[in-house]
Symmetry: C2
Subunit: 300 residues, 2 copies
């Protein structure tokens, strides 16, 4: 059985695991990522963690998932979000020399999408579009088991898709960008204004809607419609066999998936209505998908 190393690098912690070709985690360690200490220290720390694992020498390669868009062709991060000094740093070159094995890099949403496509809910489907519905909104396109990262790593940056160009601008994203109106953060922002300034997460909003609160019902319904416009745009661009949806908000799927999918069906051609919406199924798509970069991209 082939084995790969998967690295899930976040702003606070980094996980390193030995993963089997079928997506099973065989060994795993987690340590602080030292994200504020610059790329060399962050990567040296990862190299030490790899050497600590018993079976790391049996692995055929290392895959790394990292926040922000990644230029997979040049092997570096285009725009680092919460890891200092990573933008433009030659991550692949640096680690490859240190570890003497192939190194692959992609962003965390793409990596999670790859895991779900290959060994999770999208398994066996040719075109998988993974969507994280969480504090933010992210996505990943996986075709025939390979991530399509985009020219500069921005494929799947669906947060910025405009679902209603007449809404006011909220932040650096487009006016009417879906993340500003349908993400967990956006729901909370709107609920604080409209319903209760003490609300801090999406879950109580769903509960209020279930209890018949008219404002909460309207808010959830508009979120469903906004998400449906986003899914409809994606479907007309790539028509996936399945949408796999993960992320914190999607854990409340019983409160909104039916309405969202119904609205989606109203925004696509009749022949496209059979696209499936499935919940993500992996506990740790980060390390698993990172490891899968080795089999997806390389000859390993």
């Amino acid at each position: 059985m082939k084995k790969y190393l998967g690295v899930d690098l976040g702003g606070t912690n980094v996980r390193v695991a030995v993963v089997s070709e079928t997506g099973e985690i065989l060994e795993e360690i987690k340590r602080p990522s030292l994200a504020d200490q610059g790329p060399e220290i962050v990567l040296d720390n990862i190299a030490v963690m790899i050497q600590t694992l018993n079976t790391s020498k049996e692995c055929l390669g290392v895959g790394i998932g990292i926040p922000g868009p990644v230029d997979t062709e040049r092997g570096c991060v285009t725009l680092a979000t919460n890891i200092k000094g990573f933008a433009g740093f030659p991550v692949i070159d640096y680690l490859q020399k240190k570890l003497n094995m192939p190194v692959y890099l992609d962003n965390d949403a793409n990596v999670a999408g790859l895991a779900e496509a290959v060994v999770g809910s999208g398994r066996g489907k040719k075109i998988v579009y993974y969507v994280t519905h969480s504090t933010g909104i992210g996505g990943a396109l996986v075709v025939s088991g390979k991530v399509v990262s985009g020219h500069n790593g921005y494929a799947g940056e669906i947060a910025n898709i405009v679902i209603d160009r007449n809404r006011p601008k909220v932040d650096h994203l487009n006016a009417g960008a879906v993340e500003n109106w349908a993400s967990g953060t956006a729901l909370v922002r709107q609920a604080r204004e409209l319903i209760d300034p003490e609300i801090t997460s999406a879950y109580p909003i769903f509960l209020k809607a279930q209890d018949g609160d008219a404002k909460a019902i309207k808010l959830v319904s508009t979120m469903c419609e906004d998400m449906a416009y986003m899914f409809s745009a994606i479907a007309h661009v790539v028509e996936p066999h399945v949408f796999v949806i993960g992320g914190g908000v999607s854990q409340s799927h019983e409160f909104y998936f039916d309405e969202m999918i119904e609205k989606f069906k109203g925004l696509v051609h009749p022949g496209m209505k059979d696209v499936e919406f499935r919940l993500a199924s992996l506990d740790e798509p980060g390390v698993i998908g990172a490891a899968m970069l080795c089999s997806s991209n390389g000859d390993a």
Copy 2:
């Protein structure tokens, strides 16, 4: 040099050509497609045309481009637009038995996109998104020389992408669908209402705008903005290395490309602004792309 047969099947005419692996047309014939006489007669006619070509026996396969979404996995048309009785007919099975060589099928926009991606303006680029800006609006995604057709053949049906959900519904497409506001047909419809009921094509609208007609300037400008929203949605879903644009309206590119691209840049992340917009370059992408289906999908 490998040779393939390409078939460009339209509602009026059908072209059959022998095409080299580098996209050169070596032999070609054109006849009426007999589109109203049912699939057997249409396909028998194509088979006879193929046998008429001198070098058809040297070809490694046949590719067919056909209007409307195609289920490439089952080898049939999902929804025939202007060819009678084709929906659900097993085109590939029928022709394969008759010709005794591999047969591939895809829709005409996907086929044209494949030609442009492999031997036209997108040559050498990994992710190509082809857009026809014509009486209608269509598209095709080509990744690493292979068409991504979608689950039911609807990938690239970008006509139905909503660029402004607050516009009135025009036809069977979504209210605010880009085709209803930015296609050649949509431009003419709006120009007849706003400017001159005698207008019959997009070109005179561009000329009026150039001459300083305020209404024409506004119309062209809004079209540029609407197209920019569509391109922005596509870019956030797949981030192509290049957009290749063909079709009748794009022949007037000097009147609107600059403004459209400028508006696009205002609707994407700063790191995505270097995506290239190129004009389609092939005279007959239909037969060439159809032939390329053989090398793109098969082992041929």
